[in-house]
């Protein structure tokens, strides 16, 4: 008999959704009724509770799931049908299995911490309920994405999280730059979504052609049963499906060539960057690949492409990170780079390792982002690391927790990042999955991956050193700012002129009195100046940092285990996620014994190198004056020109094409032909003159005459036809 707790899985999605509705419909009223301070506390608490509640249910379900024997750990809960037509059936159905529940734990666990943090971070925000409405909605969609038992539900979640990402990046919409970044995120993601949709269409077409009786063509259980036989006959189809799905994954998980929305997405509030653009949404691509691994495993070529893209992205983004001065941008590129690592793992067939890195990365990257938020909070919303320095003195808790995140991502032994990253490189070196024309891409990726790991350690050390240590408190030394930055603000000040449309009979506009009664928004900008004194963040903000720091430090050991700690259970995560964990790796590679040693020391080496380089603070070659930068670093800062080229092609090129189509094809070619034909009928051209003079009444008569003529002609034509017969 099935454990009744599984029926409660709907609430995992339901609670955040209810939270969203509460924020939507009651948020403003509650804050008005209770006053800003108390109202915000109530709404913030509700938002956190919605996610924490989901987490609680998730814990209960994952425990019940763990009690089942491994081969039974795939419980499906079916609800109403979503789409049911002759030809395909797509029900609302949720899948409770190790993969989905692991993600539920990550999303709701880290999600509640970030929500809690956000209650503090956004405390000054006027649009408080709107923020938490979007955030709750995001969690609901993300849970739908991982829990759905078919690709269509995944797609609802997939585009839904994209929507929330769009709304949250553009949360401070009054600045056009933010809404442009939001649009960019949505549109670039849509490119990926088309790939994913095509993959789904391909699966449906294949299964429909096969005549599978169960028409739930997009449901995982149907796919997993029917697809292997088909792709065994037609291996090309595996590659085709895999590549389509991978395009989708590249969009959502910000892999080259579609990564370019993620750095811009940092325009959103920092908790958003932590939750959506680091810990959860961007890992959806890895989840998709893990979920649909049967097609990737069947296609060594597709796997090789996954590895190549992942590896290239890992290195490329790491290099770009060296040229960044914005603390959040460093973390953004680092996220892109780490996602590359996860794809390497997937490409070499070690899907559980990819998930392992998803989990550990979620901890330490959420921690680093939230930490950076605390730094930004302390530094009057300045994000430029060149203006930081020696902050350790002022914000010690933030600093201490971020140090944990830093050594975890750098891969210092026994931290979570070390376990997962080392496992990725290890698996890559020993795998035979990703083959491209007889060449083992995985092996190459394993070795080159060490370089990426080294780069990671160095640029993260750069970020930490520039922020917390170094010679001076550099915000006291900022060169005088160019005052041209501030033009344009006062230009449009309340011109009291009215356009004359007569009296406002529908009361569309506010009267002068109502205008005067409008609350004036004083957006007091506390600018960073030499007298600034950074303050540590409130407890609602540092508490999540501490929890995340604990997990960043310990989760690797807990999930993987190590022979140094004899009593700790080993391979906990692998046994949980993989139904038949394979035994030891077979096959050896040259210098194989060097791998663990290299893996151990590479992070340490990066740390030392970085520390030595940035110990004295900001080098002149990376200072405020960009002209003094090393050209290579400057190029890295500009993403090596890639973003500019793409945006130029997209906006300028697309705009030119569109205008040409409109002004030339539409107006000249098509309408020209039409007017030409019309011009032949002189009556029509006379009519033109007529109507422009506005004699509508006369024209109406002409129209009526025309209609009468038409009807007469019909009768005549019919009569003629009839007469013949």
């Amino acid at each position: 008999m099935q454990n009744p707790i599984f029926n409660q899985v709907w609430w995992i999605i339901g609670l955040p959704l209810i939270g969203f509705l509460i924020q939507c419909f009651f948020g403003k009223n509650v804050i008005e009724a209770l006053g800003p301070a108390k109202g915000k506390r109530v709404m913030g608490t509700l938002a956190v509770l919605a996610i924490a509640g989901s987490f609680g249910i998730g814990v209960a379900i994952i425990q019940a799931l763990a009690e089942l024997p491994p081969h039974d750990r795939g419980v499906i809960q079916t609800g109403l049908d979503w789409i049911r037509i002759a030809g395909i059936r797509i029900p609302f159905e949720l899948r409770i299995d190790p993969l989905s529940m692991t993600m539920v734990m990550v999303i709701t666990g880290i999600g509640s911490l970030i929500h809690l943090y956000a209650t503090g971070y956004m405390a000054e925000e006027k649009d408080y309920p709107r923020f938490f409405a979007y955030l709750n909605l995001f969690v609901a969609f993300m849970l739908m994405l991982v829990l759905g038992n078919n690709l269509a539900l995944l797609f609802i979640g997939w585009e839904g999280v994209g929507l929330c990402s769009y709304l949250l990046i553009g949360f401070w919409y009054k600045d056009f730059a933010n809404s442009i970044a939001a649009n960019k995120a949505f549109i670039v993601n849509r490119i990926g979504d088309v790939g994913l949709a095509l993959g789904m269409f391909l699966i449906v077409a294949l299964l429909a052609k096969e005549g599978i009786a169960d028409q739930r063509y997009l449901s995982y259980d149907v796919i997993f049963k029917a697809l292997p036989g088909i792709i065994e006959r037609e291996p090309m189809m595996a590659t085709a499906i895999a590549l389509c799905l991978f395009v989708g994954a590249c969009g959502k998980s910000a892999q080259f060539p579609l990564y370019l929305w993620l750095p811009d997405a940092m325009a959103g509030p920092t908790p958003v960057s932590a939750l959506i653009h680091a810990a959860t949404m961007v890992t959806a691509g890895v989840v998709l690949l893990t979920r649909m691994q049967i097609v990737f495993i069947a296609s060594p070529i597709a796997s090789a492409i996954v590895v190549i893209v992942g590896l290239f992205t890992a290195i490329f983004a790491a290099l770009i990170a060296f040229g960044q001065t914005d603390i959040k941008k460093v973390l953004a590129y680092s996220t892109v780079s780490q996602l590359g690592f996860m794809f390497i793992a997937c490409g070499v067939g070690a899907y559980w390792v990819g998930m392992f890195h998803v989990i550990t990365h979620a901890f330490f990257k959420a921690l680093l982002f939230l930490g950076s938020g605390a730094v930004i909070h302390a530094m009057a919303h300045d994000q430029d690391m060149r203006n930081y320095g020696k902050l350790q003195k002022y914000i010690p808790i933030t600093c201490a927790t971020m140090v944990i995140g830093w050594i975890a991502i750098a891969g210092i032994p026994l931290t979570s990042g070390w376990f997962s990253k080392e496992e990725i490189l290890h698996e890559a070196l020993f795998s035979h999955q990703a083959m491209l024309g007889g060449f083992n891409v995985g092996l190459a990726a394993g070795w080159i991956g060490f370089v990426a790991a080294l780069l990671t350690a160095i640029y993260m050390t750069r970020m930490m050193m520039l922020t917390f240590w170094g010679g001076q408190e550099r915000w006291r030394l900022i060169p005088a700012k160019n005052h041209e930055d501030h033009h344009g603000h006062d230009k449009h000040h309340a011109h009291a002129h009215h356009e004359d449309h007569g009296p406002d009979e529908h009361a569309f506009f506010m009267t002068d009195e109502e205008m005067a009664a409008q609350p004036h928004e004083h957006e007091h900008h506390h600018e960073l100046d030499e007298n600034h004194k950074p303050h540590e963040v409130p407890v609602s903000m540092w508490f999540p940092l501490v929890v995340l720091a604990l997990f960043s430090a310990g989760s690797g050991l807990w999930l993987k285990g190590h022979e140094w700690f004899g009593s700790v259970p080993k391979n906990r995560l692998e046994n949980w996620l993989v139904e038949h964990p394979h035994e030891a790796h077979h096959g050896t590679i040259k210098y194989g014994e060097l791998v663990p040693i290299l893996g151990m020391w590479i992070g340490v080496a990066g740390l030392i190198l970085g520390a030595l380089w940035y110990m004295r603070g900001l080098p002149k070659s990376e200072g405020w004056d960009l002209a003094r930068w090393n050209p290579l670093r400057r190029a890295a800062g500009n993403q090596f020109g890639y973003d500019a080229a793409m945006m130029n092609a997209g906006i300028e090129g697309g705009g030119t094409l569109a205008t040409w189509l409109w002004k030339v094809v539409d107006s000249k070619v098509i309408d020209g032909a039409v007017n030409g034909i019309g011009g032949l009928l002189s009556g029509v051209s006379k009519g033109y003159g007529w109507l422009q003079s506005g004699y509508t009444r006369g024209y109406a008569l002409m129209m009526l005459a025309g209609c009468a003529g038409l009807l007469g002609w019909i009768v005549y034509a019919i009569n003629n036809m009839g007469g013949k017969g």
Binding site: I83, E159, Y166, I187, H492, T659, L691, G722
Partner: protein, 549 residues
């Protein structure tokens, strides 16, 4: 006792006549009369809907009165799973249009009367089962719309109205020729003329109609198709649409986008598929190519429009492209996707024009350069606009997604199976249209609602009024209903759409026949021939009241 379908057509007509006798200066009375008339019609359509049987593909509530017997023309009405939804869409959008038209202050009486005449004509189009009757209604929609644009329109209204009239009239003249050719062929084959759709289809289903006249089938196909392509409109016959939309008053735009364009796609489902089964396959590819061009072209051109209304007008070209893409895939999924997409386009685009109308009434401009930052000024308006915009983007969970997704899926399936010379290339290109849709719609939203609010006129704007929110609310409900539980819509269309597909794709003799009592469509979408169908016989003349006692 007048049967229900005739009531549907005549109530608005009666309303229009009533308006004619009202005194000129009673504007509120005119508005009230029109609103009551449309609400009555809408109510009647709900009654019709509640009595409608979605399990059969046959015509229901049929009325047939001989008209010009010599030529086999009759007053023949009926409703099936395809038309019932368009009837509902029409009556619903008419209520909204008349409701919104409170804002019209000039020649109110004439305006309302024209709207009601238009409603009559549109319902006639969807209910006619006789070719000539259909044609008369089809043409009759032009006249009120022409005057709506020409009298209450914007600056270039005369040009736009004429262009609208000439384009669609030119297209439909050929259709009339095609109709006469059909009747003539019927006379050659069976000795008597008929313009009766059911009769024509019956002989076509049995394969007797076109024997010996196969060479004419392609010509007649294109005569009909051209009229529908102009109406939808499909590239390159679309240039009348942006002009007509820009100049039309708001109610005109809602109806134009919501209903009039659907007459094109409805025509394909109602006439093209049943009547030209032997040639439709060979024209799938050219029509699909036009559809794909329309999807991309409409979207790309939309992205650079300076006028919100023009942007939405071009987006219609793209959205209707998906409808044709789905229908012409001739697959189950595709046709159902296309059919639902036309309804959803009516809802989403109708709602978009309504929203634009609301801001236009306030600001008397629709230029992007005059807007920006409205979100802070009008938060409720912005939120509703956002939802409608997302439905137009085709976000999963909204109605816009279902149609596009299934239409593309169907086209992809057809391409994958190599049906009618298709490959997966065309649907794959069409799929990129959803990227373009995101581009122009997000740009639109950004330019109107985001950024600083610098325009001093806009700074004085109040949020929309409660009754305006109430007017938009049904659209929002339909957007989510259609997105989350489309089954309600599909259930009543399935049989008719599958019948249409089988009529177009199966060989003569195996085609469903509207007048064959033994024919039914199974839940899997196949033709079932049996003596005992599970449905009570549908009488030839089926009166609303008598039929259910």
């Amino acid at each position: 006792m007048i049967p229900i379908l005739s009531w549907l057509i005549f109530i608005p007509l009666i309303g229009a006549l009533a308006l004619a006798v009202l005194p000129d200066d009673r504007k509120d009375l005119a508005r009230g009369t029109a609103l009551v008339t449309t609400i009555l019609t809408f109510g009647l359509s709900i009654i019709l809907f509640s009595k409608f049987n979605g399990e059969t593909f046959k015509f229901q509530f049929v009325e047939k009165i001989p008209w010009i017997e010599k030529f086999g023309i009759s007053y023949h009405l009926g409703v099936d799973g395809i038309s019932i939804w368009l009837v509902m869409l029409t009556t619903f959008l008419m209520v909204i249009s008349v409701w919104f038209s409170r804002y019209v202050n000039q020649k109110v009486k004439a305006y309302m009367a024209l709207l009601l005449l238009l409603e009559s004509a549109m319902l006639g189009v969807f209910l006619s089962l006789d070719l000539i009757l259909f044609f008369v209604f089809f043409e009759a929609t032009l006249v009120p719309m022409y005057f709506l644009i020409n009298i209450w329109g914007g600056e270039r209204r005369a040009y736009a109205a004429l262009k609208f009239f000439l384009f669609t009239a030119a297209g439909s003249i050929l259709m009339l020729v095609g109709m006469v050719m059909l009747a003539w062929i019927h006379q050659q084959q069976f000795g008597s003329m008929t313009f009766d759709l059911v009769q024509l289809q019956s002989s076509i289903a049995q394969g007797e109609f076109w024997t010996g006249f196969l060479h004419l089938q392609a010509i007649v196909f294109w005569f009909f198709m051209l009229a529908f392509l102009v109406k939808m409109p499909m590239f390159p016959f679309h240039t009348w649409l942006p002009d007509a939309h820009v100049e039309a008053p708001t109610a005109g735009s809602i109806i134009l986008a919501g209903v009039l364009l659907k007459m094109g796609t409805y025509g394909i489902l109602r006439f093209i598929m049943p009547l030209f089964p032997d040639v439709i396959g060979q024209f799938v590819l050219p029509v699909m190519i036009l559809a794909v061009i329309g999807i991309l072209y409409g979207g790309i051109v939309a992205a650079v429009q300076p006028d919100v209304k023009k942007l939405v007008a071009y987006s219609s070209v793209a959205h209707m492209g998906f409808v044709v893409l789905g229908i012409f895939s001739l697959t189950q999924t595709g046709i159902q996707g296309g059919a639902i997409q036309q309804l959803n386009h009516g809802v989403s685009t109708g709602a978009l024009f309504l929203m634009i109308g609301l801001i236009y009434e306030r600001r008397h401009t629709r230029m992007f350069k005059d807007f920006g930052g409205l979100k802070a000024q009008m938060p409720i308006y912005a939120m509703l606009f956002l939802i409608i915009m997302l439905s137009s983007v085709g976000l999963p969970g909204t109605n816009g997604f279902i149609g596009e997704f299934l239409a593309l899926m169907g086209a992809f399936q057809a391409g994958f199976a190599g049906m009618n010379g298709l490959t997966v290339v065309l649907p794959a290109i069409a799929a990129t249209g959803v990227i373009v849709a995101a581009v122009y719609l997000l740009i639109m939203f950004k330019d109107m609602f985001y950024g600083p609010n610098n325009n001093s006129e806009n700074q004085r704007l109040k949020d929309i009024k409660p009754w305006e929110v109430a007017m938009i609310a049904p659209f929002i409900i339909l957007i989510f209903w259609g997105g989350l539980q489309p089954a309600v819509f599909f259930e009543r269309m399935d049989a008719s759409l599958n019948a249409a597909r089988l009529m177009a794709t199966t060989p003569a003799g195996e085609r469903p026949n509207w007048s064959e009592k033994a024919h039914e469509i199974s839940a899997e979408g196949n033709l079932v021939v049996g003596e005992a169908t599970s449905f009570p016989d549908i009488p030839e003349t089926h009166f609303a009241t008598e039929g259910h006692h």
